[in-house]
Point group: C2
């Protein structure tokens, strides 16, 4: 059997990711990247937590989450404070501005998801997401 790049899961995953990124940026109003968006939504879900924990809950490396937190802080969506009970930790929480955009983020996220999955029917989406999750 011939090896064809266009049939390989890794290559196609990269393409799908690229398309999703384009759709995301097209609709993005707040100037967030997909990664920053994920971190921000996660803080909204979890509430305040340490930087490292936030990284684990968003599947980001310590070096990666560091940069993401720095940029979210610079954009005013989060605030940082020392943990009173553990001097190693930095507590990350939503700023007032951050709290104010959570609903907007959810609406935005739904639009992106909808357009990304638009080539699939409702039934197919369920099946697809189910299988994709098993590949994580």
């Amino acid at each position: 059997m011939v090896y064809r790049l266009d049939e390989q899961i890794g290559y196609i995953l990269r393409l799908a990711n690229q398309r999703h990124g384009l759709i995301f940026n097209k609709h993005s109003e707040l100037g967030l990247t997909p990664t920053q968006f994920a971190a921000l939504v996660r803080i909204g879900e979890m509430g305040a937590c340490s930087q490292n924990l936030l990284g684990r809950r968003t599947a980001m490396d310590v070096a990666t989450i560091k940069g993401v937190v720095t940029r979210l802080k610079a954009k005013g969506f989060i605030q940082l404070s020392p943990d009173p009970g553990d001097k190693r930790r930095t507590v990350v929480s939503l700023s007032v501005q951050g709290q104010g955009v959570i609903d907007q983020l959810h609406a935005f996220g739904e639009k992106v998801t909808e357009e990304t999955l638009s080539p699939l029917s409702e039934t197919e989406r369920k099946v697809f997401l189910d299988m994709l999750k098993r590949l994580t």
Copy 2:
């Protein structure tokens, strides 16, 4: 309906991509990245071509393919030469070493694909790849 990050296609795609990357690196012997691998396999499929065309055929930006070509050249897998008919172009082609590893790359790629898709049955893989392609 509540918005949950863990149910969003963009987030799950990122996770699936991460897992694939880990599997890829685990098996990688030649020290190639997924992107370098794709470019090298593509040159093997297409034969010699310009740097920009290679980028388009591997879904890489001009700036991205530039770096990938530089690194593949540094590793000795490809060679660069000026296009006699078009002074703008740089022709990219496999070096002798590059030709020598193509079969190995294919075997390696099949192993990575197999392990990445291992959570799915044979029937599911077909359905899944079919749907994933529609999202590119």
